[in-house]
Amino acid sequence: MEGPHDVLVVGAGCAGMRAAIEAHDAGADVALISKIHPVRSHSGAAEGGINAALGNASDDDPEKHAFDTVKGADYLGDQDAIQVLCDEAPEDVYQLERWGAVFSRTEDGRIAQRPFGAAGEPRTAYAADITGHVLVHVLYEQIMRRDIPTYEEYFAWKLVVDDERCQGVVCWDILNGGLKTIGAKTVILATGGAGRLYTGTTNAYACTGDGMSMALRVGVPLKDMEMMQFHPTTLAPTGVLITEGCRGEGAYLLNSEGDRFLKRYAPNAMELASRDVISRAEQTEIDEGRGVNGNVLLDLRHLGAERIIERLHGTRELSLVFAGVDPIQEPIPVRPGAHYHMGGVDTDLWGQTSLDGLYAAGEVACVSVHGANRLGGNALMETITYGKRAGRHAADWALTHTTVEVPPSVEADAEHELKQLLDRTDGERPWQIRDELAATMHQNFGVFRREDQMQEQGRIVERLRERFERVVVDDKGTLFNNDVTQALELGFLLELADCMVVSGLARKESRGAHARPYDYPNRDDENYMRHTITRLDASGRPQLDWKPVTVTKWQPMERTY
């Protein structure tokens, strides 16, 4: 066993690094595990910004931020969690700035804020269109400053549970090979999302839902797994993200007739309606034959070259490289792509899960701040605020509890399971299963969902899980073997797909990202203003349960933009 540490953070994106900093500053011995170097984390790909009611661009306050978030979530967000986020957000953003984050600035030298979808005020603090990049780097600077140890290129595979407590993590050392167990009094999952479940996704290759699945396997429930957000502006064919900041700066969405079609879907907010609304509008335009090769057009030309270069230069670069289009001269073809998992590991307001010593923060978690639809700019904010809260609580807990036990059987079982996988020489390579899973999820569990397609997807996932039992890893070695970890990642994804389908079938309504226009076109607050919960039964199949939504002061209203 390595360690033990007071706090072990799995994943080193914004949530993980923020948690580690907080735990360190609270006096805990903290370490990070990451399967890629911290600055490679997918938080760095966040572009548009981070929401906090700083009031630098308008008269704003946390109450307005909270209401916009509650409404954006289609009333599935827990209002106490949303209130915490919106109240703590401004100070947390100021702290990032004082640590050195290179935010864009207002005329009077404050942090600049831009309008974003479904936000009543210009509330999104930003650093041009590389906000996530700037935050990842400033957080890593603070990690280096504190000399917080990092188990780099360690692939977290299994949680150690003993005495009904989480007490560590079993990892595969990618660089040197071999299983390594790291003991810890508390473990914080900060492993991000699972966008790799879909063919067209903005998510990095690393986003394979590791933490969600690891938690699920030790009996910790997942919440609202059917809620996968489709971002309205991604590039064909692979789903590279074009920031919502484009629309925040005033870009138009056009169909093949050159028509700003959102006037028929969101006549007031237009391009700044919420993401679920815009993705559905785009998909409808495309389905009804008003698309352009399966895309709609994002037109920035009227913003002018200077503004595009100053505030959206990363977007221009992505568009040039991946679409061959210069947005100064031509509209960018875009379409909806899987972007963000509102669902995840069920936690309380301090990131605690149902298992003692286990926490989750960021996209892996479901507090729930985002409910059925996340607002642009709220994800980065959640990573910071809830990363901080999980780090603080885990440190406090660890400093008042003493021992760490990792039973030898844990390592032996993991060794045995891994050996079975590595010893197999005859069978299918994982990529075909991975690609089939992603293509069928896109087909059957996308922007619009039909009962029969979801049922079909359930059967497909079941068959893929059977095939996965017989996959073959080519690389049997111990030197930078990520062939084996890519197979393990596929195992994580398959279980999550199963949970998503079960949850999606159970939610017989249309709410946020879960749109069922063919059979349940409306929101049903009487029956479904509650969270889906999934756990695995003894045979590894997901079982469905429900959990009430916390409502403090905002009763559900009709949601229009």
Binding site: R98, M144, F322, H442, D483
Partner: protein, 384 residues
């Protein structure tokens, strides 16, 4: 999604690559040729993925975001560092070229295309890469700074730490301890930050041996940086900032200062005085024989009488203009025309192969990191 959402069937390509395989434990090394069929939009990274999935799962390389922001997939194509995810293959294939793919240079290879990044990160850590704002009482909200002040470090803040510049660095090839372009650009990111209060200590540290003056100015880092950070420019700005702060103990600084003095006083570079001014009198005397040789062959002018250019007044006028503009330090660094030209994008940008294309709108350095009224623009030199 419905059928209409599926984009039109892509054309395919027959892509061939030659990859340098390597195993650091056995020392075995082999150039292996791979041929796969791929959609016509693929990048180098996509091709490696197809090879790893379908041909040989033991092929090792790093990847994550596939959108040029995580910095994982730096490697060499035909001997020059690229981000694999940024390199489109269509044009290369259509030209009938079979590129050779290898690991980045100047870093130890672990396996195939994977290098040990620890030497890279240890140099970054040596820069003390965190803001040292030094104020005793932090501001109530944010630290105030104008956009113009922040623009000074715009390019340095774009760095994704991919290592492409380090891979190509000629100085590091001869001096592995040279801090190198990525770490020094990170240093400039703090030296140029209007919120930083520890510039002098930083500059002193960066002026030590293996520091800024050990750069050979080959500009390979600027050339190969996939994000337009222009690390060599950052090093130049650190040099200018050092001289502005009177940190000139290194020969490199003395050398640069003498260029200015010489041009100002005579309109020429006076080589014979350059050596004693840079290296000191003792060192210069030791080189007398060599200098005499140069003189005999007409390579240097006689030191006496001092040779003054006819139009020395113009040189002096230029010097005075720059002085009046207050462009001391980093602000005196003039961005090259090539950088400015990037704003006028080429028609055949990126998508048609990605080779050699760099889109990073250039930022003219703005207000210096000194106290001025926020938003004031006394020299009217901003492009914004």
């Amino acid at each position: 999604m419905t059928e209409a959402a599926v984009h039109t069937e892509p054309q395919t390509l027959e892509v061939a690559l030659k990859v340098w395989r390597y195993d650091s434990r056995t020392g075995e090394r082999e150039l292996v040729r791979y041929e796969v069929e791929a959609p016509d939009w693929v990048t180098l990274l996509d091709v490696l993925d197809i090879i790893k999935d379908r041909v040989d799962g033991t092929l090792a390389y790093r990847k994550s975001c596939r959108m040029m922001i995580c910095g994982s997939c730096g490697m060499r194509m035909d001997g020059a560092a690229v981000l694999a995810c940024r390199t489109r293959m269509k044009e290369i294939v259509e030209a009938g070229h079979v590129p050779v793919i290898s690991a980045m240079g100047n870093l130890p290879i672990v396996k195939d295309l994977v290098v040990d990044m620890e030497p890279f990160w240890s140099k970054v850590r040596a820069m003390k890469p965190w803001l040292q704002s030094g104020y005793e009482e932090p501001p109530e909200h944010e630290w105030r700074a104008s956009q113009e002040q922040m623009n000074v470090i715009h390019k340095e803040a774009l760095c994704i730490m991919c290592g492409c510049c380090v891979s190509e660095c000629n100085s590091m090839e001869s001096d592995p301890e040279f801090l190198g372009p990525a770490a020094l650009a990170k240093g400039m990111r703090f030296v140029g930050d209007p919120r930083e209060r520890n510039q002098v200590e930083r500059l002193n540290a960066y002026n030590e041996e293996h520091g800024i003056w050990d750069c050979t100015r080959c500009y390979f880092c600027n050339e190969r940086c996939p994000k337009g950070v222009d690390p060599r420019d950052a090093i130049a700005k650190l040099g200018a900032e050092s001289i502005k702060h009177g940190i000139d103990h290194d020969m490199g600084a003395k050398h640069a200062k003498w260029f200015v003095t010489s041009a100002k006083t005579t309109g020429w570079l006076r080589e014979t005085e350059l050596v004693p001014k840079t290296q000191g009198v003792v060192s210069a005397i030791k080189q007398t024989k060599f200098a005499m040789g140069l003189l005999r062959h007409g390579k240097v002018p006689l030191p006496f009488p001092p040779h003054v250019a006819e139009e020395v007044d113009e040189a002096r006028a230029l010097y005075n203009v720059v002085k009046q503009q207050g462009r001391d330090g980093a602000l005196g660094h003039v961005q090259g025309e090539r950088a400015l030209a990037r704003i006028d994008h080429p028609d055949d940008a990126g998508a048609h192969g990605g080779q050699g294309y760099r889109d990073s709108p250039d930022i003219t350095p703005g207000e210096p990191p000194v106290q001025r009224d926020i938003g004031e623009d006394p020299h009217g030199q901003q492009t914004r």
